[in-house]
Every structure is written in C-alpha cells, then in structure tokens.
Symmetry: C2
Subunit: 515 residues, 2 copies
C-alpha cells in the first residue's frame, strides 16, 4: 500500500466516500488509489465545480466530501466556492497535489505557496510529510471537517508521500463522532425571561436550526410566546413549504431590512449573529437593527439548537405547545408574462414534494421566493458567502447526495457563467438537476446597486460593464455543448410546463427563461 | 474627484489604459470612474479571463494592464492566471474591491483576508486607506508592475476610499521608466572564455532575450562561437519563423530533455535558470543537465540581455558577425488525416506574417510546433506557470493589444474548458482570434503521465478521471452560445482552409479539430 492508497482508505473508513476531482500529473498515484471501490470519484472540468459540489454534498448529507485539486493554482480555482462553503458552515476535505519534496527546491513552474493560499479560507491546513503517517493526517482532516459547524480542512499531498510505500502504518486514534456543544443554561434562562416579557422579539435561526426537530421546537416557542421566527436573507438549508414551521426572511436591501426589523425590541440569535448589511453604502448603516433593539445570543454556532430549544420549552412550560405550521397554498398554473409573482406561482405549482431548491437568482428570486411558502415541502439552499457561481456546483453535489430527489437550480445568467462547467458533470453522472437560467442579459443586481451606492446614473461605459447583452448568451447552445437537453420559455405557462416535465424525465435539463 | 476617479486618472496618466473588469457591488464608484475616456474597459464574465487577458496584453505591449476584481473571492478566481503571469514575468495591476473600512468589523458575508490571498502570488500588495493618498498608492503599483521583469501589484480598494472625495491631492513622485539593470562585466568576460574554449555550449534564452535586438545578437554569438541557442520548453514570447534567429526548444519529457542536453559541456543562462523537470517522477531526475555539465549565468532576470550580448560580442570580436537566420520553408497544403505533422504543415501554410500564436495544445502541439520553424515570421506565446486555462484569456488580451494582428489560440479541450468564458469577450470586442480546439476528448497528457509516474496502467476508475468523452463536448455549440462562429474539421485540408479563411474574416472564430 502506498501513501495515496492509505489516504483514500482512511477517507472511506471515516465516511468520506466521494471525491470531486480535477487531477493533474502530480496526482496520478491518487488516481490509481481511487480504484478503491468504496470511493466514488466524480470528475469536474473546473475546480470551482469540485469545491461547490462538495459544499452541496455536505448541505444534504451533513458529512464532508473530499476534493482533489492540482497544486496551488488548482486550489486557487476552487477557493471562491470554498469561501462560500466556509460561510455556510459546510465541512470539506480538500486534497491538494504537490510536487515531491525533493523537487520543490528547484522551484519548478507550478510551485507556489500552497499553505499561504489555503490558510485564509481553511480552518485547518497540513502537509502530509510521509506515507507512513498520512493515515493519521487524513483522519485528523476528516475529524476537523466533521465538527459542528463544519470546517474546511486542507491536506497537501506531496508526490513522494503519495507514491512511497507505507512501511509502518500508524495506529489511528478512535475519533469521536463530532457532537455540538451543550448550550449554556444561564443564557437559556435569560432568553426565557425575555420571551416572557411579551415585548416584540425576533428569533433568528440559522444552520442546523432551520430544519428537523430544532425547527419544530422553534415553532413551539414561537407559538407559545408570540415571538416571530426569522432567518438571515441567506441560510445554508431551510426545510420549508406546506407542513413546515414557516420562517420569515429578513430582506436583502438595507432599507427593507431596517423596516422589517424596526418593530422588534429583542433579537435572539441561534447559530448566527445579528443581521448585517451585505455591503456597505455611503449613507446607510452596517447594522440593520433599530436603535434600542437588544441582541441576545441563545445558541452559539457550535452549540446544539435542538437541545437548547428543548430546555427553553421546559422553562417556558411549553413542551406540549403545538407549533403553527405553514398551510398548503394551492396556486393555479399561471399564464402570460413572466414576472416575480408568476414565476413564484409556476414554481409553487410545479415543484414536487421533497425536492431541493438551490437559489442563486439574485434579482429574480429575491422577489419570487416569498410567494412559494405554501408549496409542497422542500429544502431551500442559499449562497452565504456571496461569491457568485455557487449554484450550479452546489446543485451538482446535492443531486449526487440525494439521487432520488429532483434539484431545481435557479440561477441568474451572470452567476451561471462562472462555473457553467457543472453542466458537463451533471450530464456525465445523469443527475436529476433542473437548471433554470433567468436570462435578463445583465448583472441586474448591479443596476440597482449603482444607485444604492450613490454613484448616480450609470453612463454608457459603466453600463457596458453591467449589461451582458452583447452578445446575449444562447443558453440552449450552452446546454447542448455539454450534453444537457434544454427548453426555452418566455411565458409563465411554458415555464411551468418545462419544470413539471423535468420532474418526470430523469437526468439534467436546462430551462432558459427569457425575462 | 473621488478616490476611484483619482485611481483611474493615475492609472491612465501612468500608461495603464485598459482595465479587464468583473465588477460587483463594492466597485460601483470605480465603474463610474471608468467613464474616464482615456481608460478602455473590457468586461470579462469570469475573473480568470480578466487576469489572463492582462497577461496577454503585457506579453505584446511590455506594459501592464489593470484588472478589477470583486473582493477576496473575485481575486481568488483570478489567481491561477496571476500565477501563470507571474511565472511569465508579466506585469499587472490588480485592483481588488473591498468593503468600506467601517463595515469590515461586522464580518459581512464576502469578507476574507484579501492580503492573505494576494500575497502568495503578488510581488507587492497594498490597501488604499484614503482617497487623498490613493493616487500615490496607484502610482507605486504601476511602478512595481512596470519593473523588468514585470511584477504582480495588487491594490486593495475599500469602498470608502473609493467614494470619498479627494480633499488634498498628494504630489506624486516622478517615476523613472523602469530600466533593466546593466549586466555584470565579470560574468560576461567569463562567458567569453567559456565560449572561446570551443567546448559544446547551449545558451538558454528567456523573457526579453527571445526577441528583437537581443535575439539578433544572440544569433551573432551563436554563429561566431558555434554555441547553440535554446529555450526552455515554455517561453513568455518568442519571435520566430522565417528570417528570425532560430532557437531550439528543450523537450518537455524528462527522457527527451536529458537526451537533448547530454552533449553540452556548458549551459549558459539568459534571464532564466538551468532546466528543471516540470514535475517530479519517482525514478527521474529533477535537474535535466548531464553530470559534469557546468551552468553559468550570463544575464540575470532583472538585467539587460541586449546590452550583455553587445558587450559579449565586443569581447569576442564578433560585433559584425552575421547571424544565421531561419530560412522560409514552403510546405504544401497537407491533405488527409490529422496528425502532428499534417497539423504543423497546415499551420505553416496558413498562418500569415506577423500573427501571434498562443499555444496551450499540450499533447498535440508538443509534437507539432517543431515543424513550424519555417513558417512566416510570428510570435509564439507559451504558458510558463503550468496552470491550464491560460490560452483563451491570453489570446483575448493579445488581440486587444494588437488589433491588426490575427491571433491563433491553439488549445486542448481540457484546458479550454477552464476559462471558456473568454469566447464571449472575444465576440463582444470583435477580436481577431482564431481559437483552435484540439478535441481529443481526454486529458491526454495525463495518460502518458500515468505511466511516467510509475502508476502502472490506469484502471477503469482512474481512466474515467482522465477521459472527458462522456459526454463529448460540442465545441460548435459552445462557440454559438457565446456568439462566436465556428467550423468543424477532421481532415488536414479542412483544417488548413478553416485557418486560412479565418485570416480573411474579421472577428473571432472557433475551429473544432476532431483528433
């Protein structure tokens, strides 16, 4: 057994059984080790697809995937989606190929400071110095990535570590399954007082608190106390739709967000912090709460929300309160022009129970998603890091994680272009992904932001940096180039039909929506 | 005038008059400042296109372009081609948008350690703290980037620095035009002795020494002394073809390279270092020279090759020696199957005088390019950093730098997929780029490297990480999606005709070559 084989064996023994790979010459022994039948390898034609797919895998599985990237530049290409994953608290084990140790001193062309590139966006970085100890390094990487919240672990794999035989295998520590910390009793007692005061309170839920038992209990607390439940504009994964505890979304725009928040005397945070503007603007605040609103932490990011809520419900004497659930809202199939409302209705009428919606439709989706609360129950995934190009890779990873669930990937044209290579992996793996391109031929969000920034009205040159209409992208040709069938729609009924059709047809499809 | 306007004005006043941009919300004032009519702005749909295009611009202009990238993740997306540019000694001024200073402490979603991400691949990094002093910072960035060899300068632009008015503009220093250092007389005298010994010597030329007066003088030295002229396998830009001083290329593969080098008693380096294997292999050397071969530095990377050669010619008494020039080799238009030789002949027969060839055809081009020495004079550009996805952006930048010259971009299918968004910018700007996709549906180089690495014969799973044939990419559809016309060829005569046609038709075209 060589170092690469030891690495792959340790990954699969510790539950990391998928590798999103874009290999190069220095990773040939790793490729050979991927023959391990317990490891699934998925080829991606750009590293940003690999890291984004690992993020999508984690969001649906709550366990890390691995990536294989080719030296410093390969890591660099994956960093933007590592940033997004880090902000979403997704765990991930990145394996970065590297020259053999003896070769590095000659500074060959692909040499760079891999640790330097990895550290700003990794929680843990290590260079595997020996084939004998790489199993230990790998086990540590998986343990780090598997914490709550998930962590970015980056393991650098020199060629000689990869190809040398394991002479004496190290005994691995028994790794405890990562458990969230118990919440603080004092904090919970304080929050009970706050909620019993009857003063208007917003409980902001994030990460693991927006689904499952934790979400149900949050609903009980809301019903028992009159507190409202909110989320940041972007959340890692929300279980929503009919029959779920509904969560109100804090708006994106600073003015709307401050308006939404101004009535609350208390903001109570769960696995998140108080709401902050996404960007800074010359004459707008960074913090979105009203003056005088108090912020209280109920659950820290590394603590157990479900347990905290259980204790809180006991303190409130509300353990048997029934949560208010979102009723199903049947909507008619919309017809005519596409606008945020008709798009929402088409979505609501077409998405099947238990589907996954990955949303990166910045301008279009912002106005639509609020109208889909009464759709059949589904999971909603957002981009927490703000680096565009996250949706198509995350949808790819989510579809691999949940092969029986249809994934709807709603994405603006500007964002889709960043990591469009995802389509190829979707075709290759036959993934059940419906990619919906909202083609407004523009970085439309920037047009609004230009004015928000106080930069005035964009002139011709500035506008030419915002509009992407010369040439307009032919998304059907794009899909065809990578083996994905496609549909063009420009009415609400055609949009609805295309989505409904996609549910019945296995494999990927792209819907180009002309706005 | 605000900080962004001061920045753009200082760029253009210092000769940096093009900006390859992919903006976001935090750069709206910079977009407004791009209304400056002296600045040309070019929109790129992915940051790797922007940084690669800046590299291509520098290679043809010998002066830096600027890029505009959106916070840490935007920089990250551009880093792989910054790595390639750095290795090619291309200068570049990267402007990285950032949150305003007061906003950073709230750690909003797009926050990251931009300095940390920039440093491993930048020579110079600075955060512009004030609109008053940003002109100074910008002038320093341009001065750094404009050194010989070119440098990567990265200037971080916080929102408030961008939008605040300039209260008191600083007086800028008069920047001396960057000049290469004078070479060392002692070293030159030593090299004269070496060359006069009559022992077999190889002079390895790089960077500025592979063109213009320096190359001509190198040819005189070779003719006068019997030394041979060589280049590394990859060089930033070579002036080659009929009428130019020919340079022999050290092969890529370790075995071929050591074979090529074994007869030389002396290796003399000019703006480069002794040849090193691109990758390390279990049983192959890192250094490629034979035992006993001596390595001598003639010109360091920051010195003046043309001047060094002039002094050396004087020492040798060879100032009036005529260099041997490459004769024109007329080749017949090839017919029939496409193979390295027929591809080379098709190239030789079709490329017009003064065109630019950007080569990233790893497996195909490696065998072909040696047969194009007798083509009409042209410039050849290679990837020195080894991070694939450099060719289509570099071709984009080179075409903008030289609007009157046709650019041939020869690229493998695997490499082309990395930064395929370049096609859109080529269509938008109407650039004279002929993109030639050698579609072997494979990371073919890796098949050879698998064996070279001693990893044996790839199994089915390893092969599935190397072949990119399921699905095979439809390059004509890809071109159409971004507004670029295309041709499909699978014979030598069709390939020749497509290239010759492209020379007569303004604007971009893509040729899909089925191998």
């Amino acid at each position: 057994m060589n170092g690469a084989e030891s690495l792959v064996e340790t990954l699969v023994d510790n539950g990391v059984d998928i590798c999103f790979a874009n290999p190069g010459t220095s990773e040939m022994h790793f490729l050979a080790a991927l023959e391990n039948p317990k490891m699934r390898s998925v080829l991606c034609l750009f590293e940003g697809v690999a890291t984004g797919a690992a993020d999508g895998w984690y969001r649906m599985k709550d366990k890390p995937a691995s990536t294989l990237l080719h030296l410093g530049p390969g890591l660099a290409n994956g960093l933007a989606n590592i940033h997004n994953a880090k902000r979403a608290s997704s765990g991930m084990v990145n394996i970065i190929g590297e020259h053999s140790t003896s070769h590095l001193k000659y500074d060959p062309p692909l040499t760079s400071d891999i640790e330097g590139l990895a550290r700003p966006l990794s929680h843990w970085v290590r260079r595997a110095d020996s084939s004998d100890t790489i199993a230990w390094d790998t086990a540590q990487a998986v343990a780090q990535a598997s914490q709550h919240p998930g962590k970015i672990a980056t393991l650098i794999l020199p060629g000689d570590t990869s190809w040398r035989e394991v002479a004496a295998k190290v005994e691995l520590p028994t790794l405890e399954a990562a458990q969230p910390k118990a919440p603080d009793a004092g904090r919970i007692a304080h929050i009970a007082c706050v909620l019993q005061s009857g003063e208007p309170a917003l409980i902001i839920l994030a990460n693991k608190a927006t689904r499952g038992l934790a979400l149900e209990r949050a609903g009980q607390i809301a019903t028992a106390t009159g507190a409202r439940l909110g989320s940041q504009f972007f959340t890692a994964r929300i279980e929503r739709g009919a029959g779920r505890v509904p969560i109100e979304r804090i708006p994106y725009a600073v003015g709307q967000a401050t308006e939404f928040l101004k009535g609350f005397k208390h903001i109570i945070t769960v696995e998140t912090r108080e709401p902050v503007a996404f960007f800074s603007y010359p004459d707008k605040p960074s913090l979105l709460k009203a003056e005088g609103t108090m912020v209280h932490t109920l659950v820290e990011a590394d603590e157990d929300s479900a347990l905290a809520f259980e204790i809180l419900l006991d303190e409130l004497g509300a353990a048997h309160t029934k949560p208010a659930l979102q009723p199903r809202v049947e909507v008619a199939v919309p017809t005519g022009v596409l606008n945020p409302l008709s798009i929402a209705h088409a979505l609501s009428a077409s998405i099947p129970e238990n589907c996954i919606v990955v949303d990166e439709s910045l301008t279009t989706g912002r106005e639509s998603m609020g109208h889909t609360m009464g759709a059949l129950p589904h999971d909603l995934i957002n981009n927490l890091g703000g680096s565009i190009g996250y949706a198509t890779p995350v949808a790819t990873g989510a579809a691999l994680a949940c092969p029986d669930r249809r994934v709807f990937c709603m994405v603006g044209d500007g964002s889709a272009m960043y990591t469009i290579q995802s389509l190829w992996t979707q075709a290759r793996e036959g993934l059940n992904v419906t990619t919906i391109i909202f083609a407004n031929n523009s970085y439309a969000i920037l047009k609004a932001e230009y004015a928000n920034m106080g930069a005035g009205v964009p002139g011709a040159r500035a506008l030419s940096m915002i509009d992407i209409d010369r040439p307009s992208i032919d998304w059907q040709a794009m899909a065809k180039s990578m083996g994905v069938p496609s549909v063009f729609v420009d009415t609400a009924e055609a949009f609805h039909k295309a989505m409904a059709d996609s549910v019945r047809t296995p494999g990927p499809v792209l819907i180009q929506v002309r706005l």
